[in-house]
Every structure is written in structure tokens, then in C-alpha cells.
Symmetry: C2
Subunit: 273 residues, 2 copies
């Protein structure tokens, strides 16, 4: 069923893990999704730093970077030059029960899959958004972290089947707009680029961070702020970012559509450099 | 490392699952922990009904009861008469991405492990509680469900190492007391048994439900209500329930200790019937 091109578990070709892995028992781990372009994982340093920072938030010891790099070289040697790399780090095997092992032996999983087909088409024409009914829970202890507890995203993604809808917009219980289901969000208002704060919920993606830096490089004012749905629908431009799509301009949300995308185009070009 | 006595995946003896199982990818599944006594899973009908109800909340199709029963009979045939049974149901294998498969083929995992050693001792002497710093996030879409997204419980359980502390008390972001890390909570106030509502967060355990029914049978007034920490420390009795411990009376929380446990004893006896 799965179109996996290569898979390693703790450095060895494998496509299974023990049912006692805490990643399976409790979602006790973190992960990253990377775009591979011309055989190179995009934004590698940012990605591994983010994985390590997320692991630290859960107190999961991190493998050496050379261990990851060996795995990735091995996996990519058997993969096409354009593909998707997924890195998973769990707390490793454990007994039943929430208590963590005194000396955890973390599990690292590296898989390679195909690049989704429609990416470039949406990049050209813009993404169609919808607002999800599910509201994100506020958990400052986990906010920003890309951990393996993702049922909220799964439930939100179950809200639509229409292939013409490319992404769902997630709000929190206080009706603040937080992100897309699989992406971060930016709006442009009076020439300023704004992205929601992620101290209560949401995932702080690497592409979000890079887009903010690109804006600074281009002297475009950029800031983090709470926004609501009216801020999005009244925005001059709306953008989505993640490591696979890089930047999508939003073309439609409910009754509102956008055609101009001056800053989105500028930022995309810069991000592609 | 793991003291598993028996394990089946989809009916076959196995201790591994594919890394593409959505239980591992996203914690996209539900589980139950059952006490086995004299070779019989305790409270079986309640347990399987709860598993099915939780799966329905996540729109995961459920296997037939006879499939579970076959697995369990198989696993228990090779296990001691007193043990712990764990049932896991995930949405099964999936491609990368949150979108659920159109026709999911769920994974069921049955494992048997040893009964924890200290249970009876704590039952006799009472449990020592501490208050966790972590606050549970409020997510009505998942509240009550025993799903595989359990990092909150893991983080809460990391707050203490002292083996003399038996359980941690979890509050939500609004300082309402919700439950223990691995148990539900009851307090006695003016002869009335009260347990926190679980419509915003927490797991509604089978033992909680049974204890409420026992109280009704014994004509002890019982109700669900919001309570805070002062309600707990000022209570006449405090109890913890789950399927392994059944009922523990709480003996100490911070500076407060309890010696009397009239209703706790009555309810435990009834529950043991």
C-alpha cells in the first residue's frame, strides 16, 4: 500500500518497529518532513536543529548528526533526486506505562517517499482554503513542537474530501487563527507580513522561520501577532508555508478570492534561492 | 527489555508493526488496558464497548468482537492466570499525510504483560498523590477518549521519580481537577461521591463508570461536577480508579493525609464482587 522508496530503522534497512516502541504506544516522539531537491535535503541545518530542539522539549536524547547523515545518504542513494524525506525520533522501547525509561534508547526512523504530484500546479494557481470546524487545544508545554500526537490534524483533515480544496485553516478554542492543517500561515496587511504566534498551540515549521528571515532580508516588515478570521479574509495576500510546498499563495477562502500576490511572489523567489 | 508474555498483531503472533501504521505515524488509534484475573479479562463487556465507542469518535472501523475474543483467548492461553492485557486499535497503514485512507484496514494489537507488583500493597495502605505542574489542554473533540496521543501523560509522569509517590493529580488550564495521570478521581464530600466531568479533557475509564454504578447500587449519592484542588484537600475521602488498581483510597496529598475510608472500602468491596 505504501509507496515508500527507502526506509531505515536505527540505521538498518527495515520497515517495521517493535510494538513496544513508545512512538507506537503513546506517540512519544517527534518528526520532520523534508523536501529533497537534486539529491539534497532542503534546509538541512534548520531541519536538524528543529528536530533536536523539539526532542529537547520532550527530554528525548538525540542521536549524533552523523548518524542521521549516514542514514539519509544511505536512503537517498536508492531514491530519485526529487523526493520527500521523513525523519522520526521516538523515546524508544519501553515497558507498559507512561513512566519513561531511566536510560532511554531512542529509535530513529528515516523513510523516503515520492514528492506529491500537485505541488507545482497549486504553486502556480494558488491554494483554495477552507475553515475547519475542529478547534486546536491550547497546550503551551507542547506548542510549536512537531510531535507524534497528531490526532487533531487527522480529525481536521477528515473534514473535507474535495480535491479542489488544498488546505484547511485551523483556529484555536479562542477563535484565533493558528495555521493550516499541514502548513503555517502568513497574511499581508498594509504591506506588513504577519504570522500567528504559536506559544499556545500549532507547529512552528522550518519554512515559517525561513520565510520570516527572507522578509527581513527584503526589508519587508514582518511580525508575529494574534489574528482572527476577519484578519485573514480582509488581508491583501495570504500565504501558506511548509517544507514541501515552500510557499503557496492562497487563491480562495469561502467567498473571498485573491489574485494579486506581489509579496508572496517576492518571498517565494527569495526562498527558492 | 519488555516483559511481554504474549503478543498478536491482527491475530498472528508478532511483536512488530509496519512503520507506515498510522498508530506510529500520528498516534491515530485507541487502546485499553485490562486486568486479567483467574484467566478472565475483567469487565470485558464494558471494556470492548468503550473501545468501540472510542474508535467511533475517531471514525476508525472496529473489528468484530469475535476477532478480539479469538486473539485474547490465544494470548491468554500462553499467560499466567493473573496478568495485564492491552488492546490497541489503529487506523492501520497509510500513506504519508494526515488524510485518512478511503478504506482503512485497521490494525489490532493484543499484548499480555505481568501485573505490576505493588498494586495490593498500595490498595492496603493507600496511595500517595502529588499535584502535577502540567495542565491538561481542553479538547472537547477528544475528551474522554483513550486514544494513543498521550504525550501529556508522559510529560506529567516525568515530574516525579520517588517510588513513594504513587500517582500525580492533573488539573486543566482553568485549574479544575480532572484526574490522575493513569487513573480517574473521586472525592467524598458530606457523604456524597463526586467525580470530575470529562467533557473538555481527560479519559473516561471503565472503572470510573463501574464505580459510579456501584455507588448507585449502594444508594450512595454520586454525581459528576467540576472540582478544584481545595475540594480535593478538604474532602472526607479521595479515591483513584482504573482497570488495574480498581480503587485506591488516597492516603496523602501534600500536607493533607486521610486515614478513614468508609465509603472507599464499601465501594471497593462492591466493585470486587
Amino acid at each position: 500500500m505504501s509507496a515508500t522508496l527507502a526506509a531505515l530503522v536505527n540505521g538498518h534497512p527495515a520497515s517495521a518497529i517493535t510494538i513496544h516502541d513508545r512512538g507506537f504506544l503513546y506517540g512519544d516522539g517527534v518528526f520532520r518532513t523534508l523536501r529533497v531537491s537534486e539529491c539534497e535535503p532542503l534546509w538541512w541545518t534548520d531541519q536538524i536543529e528543529k528536530l533536536e530542539a523539539d526532542a529537547a522539549r520532550l527530554a528525548i536524547p538525540v542521536p549524533t548528526r552523523s548518524a542521521w547523515e549516514r542514514d539519509i545518504a544511505d536512503a537517498l542513494a536508492r531514491s530519485p533526486s526529487e523526493c520527500v524525506l521523513r525523519l522520526v525520533l521516538t523515546r524508544g522501547e519501553g515497558q507498559r506505562g507512561y513512566r519513561v525509561p531511566a536510560r532511554p534508547s531512542p529509535t530513529r526512523v528515516v523513510t523516503v517517499g515520492p514528492l506529491p504530484e500537485a505541488l507545482d500546479q497549486v504553486t502556480r494557481h494558488g491554494a483554495r482554503l477552507r475553515v475547519c470546524a475542529l478547534r486546536l487545544a491550547q497546550q503551551p508545554s507542547l506548542a510549536g513542537v512537531k510531535h507524534l500526537n497528531r490526532i487533531e490534524n487527522v480529525l481536521a483533515r477528515m473534514e473535507w474530501n474535495d480535491p479542489q480544496t488544498h488546505e484547511g485553516l485551523l483556529l484555536d478554542a479562542s477563535d484565533r487563527v493558528i495555521s493550516g492543517v499541514s502548513s503555517n500561515l502568513f497574511i499581508v496587511r498594509r504591506g506588513e507580513v504577519i504570522t500567528p504566534g504559536l506559544s499556545r498551540c500549532g507547529v512552528a515549521g522550518v519554512a515559517r522561520d525561513r520565510l520570516m528571515r527572507c522578509a527581513q532580508d527584503l526589508k519587508i516588515p514582518v511580525r508575529v501577532a494574534d489574528i482572527d478570521l476577519a484578519d485573514v479574509t480582509s488581508a491583501e495576500e495570504v500565504m501558506l508555508t511548509n517544507s514541501l510546498i515552500k510557499v503557496w499563495r492562497v487563491e480562495r477562502l469561502g467567498g473571498r478570492s485573491w489574485s494579486r500576490a506581489v509579496l508572496s511572489d517576492q518571498l517565494r523567489e527569495r526562498l527558492d534561492d
